[in-house]
Symmetry: C2
Subunit: 272 residues, 2 copies
DNA sequence: CTGATTTATCTTGCATACCAGTTAATGTGT
DNA sequence: ACACATTAACTGGTATGCAAGATAAATCAG
């Protein structure tokens, strides 16, 4: 198959190398220079693609918590080698979406219960800051974008398109982050709320609640337009509070999907 | 060493395999089960070790932003193969501590300027929530721990041990997170503030400010003991605000260390 | 039939090899 | 001298193979 020529290079040639190189090495590590900024290559490596694909499968519960996943199996299924698969798995393990047990197996990460109330509180704190800042900075153009988005939400809510509505919900909060001039904060919120999202999908169908969400969004936008930071923040807090009372019940129904690392009867209190 | 039996397995045997296996395969993927929880192995893989080592070097500025780093060079230096090195580099690239340019080279990540004000605002929002919650929940035992830590801080501040003081500073904020019953939130804050820490080390020596920090910490603890959530939060905000006015100057001094992705003359405002 | 032991076959961790693409020293033509 | 094509030596992305540990089926001892 492979001729495998005698490849003794790779090793560093000694200074007295009898065969003087015709071409000199290229300048090695000549101090801090940074990458050539004029060419930013697109990162569409196999590993990146697999990461996004598996991540979506986990978040949307195509893969239930605790399901064994095998690097080999995925590699065969996708027709690639284990290397990019492993790259994706390791990234997912870092955000606790996958649990890797060395020499034994990997599993879709169970939801750490302690992450749920903390994520809710963190998200609320950050998004209250975002809505205050957005209220202070929003232009009339921003108002229009927000209202157009609200109309879109109402449309999709009518059609009972849960997945589509979930996407729009994220987009709405992202828009507020952009208006606040703090888009990275929304990215952090997204990382924080991953386990919350999985919990929600596991426990309630969330159908019928879409109208309520649109109403709350509408109220938030109204307060934003009125320029009242505190009231807008209060509405945002109302919009994001909750969940806490559902945790104990949700965990009790399907304990195999969770890592119960805190006392379910004594969940962290919320202080607004 | 090892007889290495004819290992033609690995491939899936066809159903009509003339040599029926004496041992059957072990049950494959029999539904969600989760890992064997009774044995939690320590994760001291080479990749993990390298990740922490390189990360520390970057954060503590042993490696300046923009410095080229080579997977091969590190692998040789550490006496391991490229695989675990690559694993570490990829993790670092995710938190923007390394910039990877495919087929060209990798570099210590330059500091994205836009991350600085956003990190400060996020941290402030989260830590204000933490101190309020901690104030509400703290027991007399917690008070003692806090005061003991303040004494420790004062000691180290006297000795001009900057690195040690930085560590204690982090520990103080971590303690507040624990008292609030929300330790994961502090972990998130740590991720958020990485670029801020690098900026600080790049621009000011921070010497002489240690006494001020200890005084501010002391004030915060006093308000916590008094049980006044709002005042404690206000002191925390004061403690964490700042930096903004230094950004433009710091970037101007060493522009090669930064990714200037926002308008330096129009940094995001702070809304408390 | 029950419980301990063996063993085939899994798993992930790491090493190695190869590839395509980038880069910069070099050679060459003008 | 200077512009330009050439090309050796690098880069990170991927494929593959082996090793050590874990696990459950198969086997054996009682």
């Amino acid at each position: 198959m492979k001729p495998t020529p005698p490849k003794l290079s790779q090793v560093q040639v000694s200074p007295e190398d009898p065969r003087p190189r015709k071409r000199r090495n290229r300048a090695p590590n000549s101090g801090p220079t940074g990458p050539a900024h004029w060419l930013i290559r697109s990162n569409v490596s196999i590993g990146e693609r697999l990461y996004k694909k598996i991540r979506t499968s986990i978040i949307e519960l195509d893969l239930l918590p605790g399901t064994p996943i095998s690097e080999n199996a995925i590699a065969q299924l996708e027709g690639v080698s284990r290397t990019p698969v492993r790259e994706a798995i390791l990234r997912l393990a870092e955000e606790r979406l996958v649990e890797v047990v060395p020499q034994s197996g990997s599993y879709v990460g169970r939801i750490p219960v302690s992450a749920l109330p903390e994520a809710m509180l963190s998200r609320r704190a950050l998004e209250m800051m975002l809505i205050k800042t957005a209220t202070a900075r929003a232009t009339r153009d921003d108002w229009q974008q927000l209202e157009a988005h609200l109309a879109l939400q109402a449309d999709v809510a009518c059609m009972d398109d849960i997945a589509g509505f979930h996407h729009l919900d994220d987009e709405f909060h992202e828009l507020i982050g952009r208006i606040a001039g703090l888009p990275r904060v929304w990215e952090h919120v997204q990382e924080i709320k991953v386990q919350m999202d999985r919990f929600r999908r596991l426990t309630f169908a969330q159908a019928g609640r879409m109208d309520l969400v649109v109403r709350e969004h509408t109220t938030i936008v109204e307060e934003l337009k009125a320029g009242s930071q505190e009231r807008a923040a209060k509405e945002m807090a109302t919009h994001l509070t909750g969940l806490r009372s559902y945790i104990a019940k949700g965990v009790a129904q399907n304990p195999q999907y969770f890592i119960i690392d805190i006392d379910l009867d004594n969940l962290p209190e919320s202080v607004v």
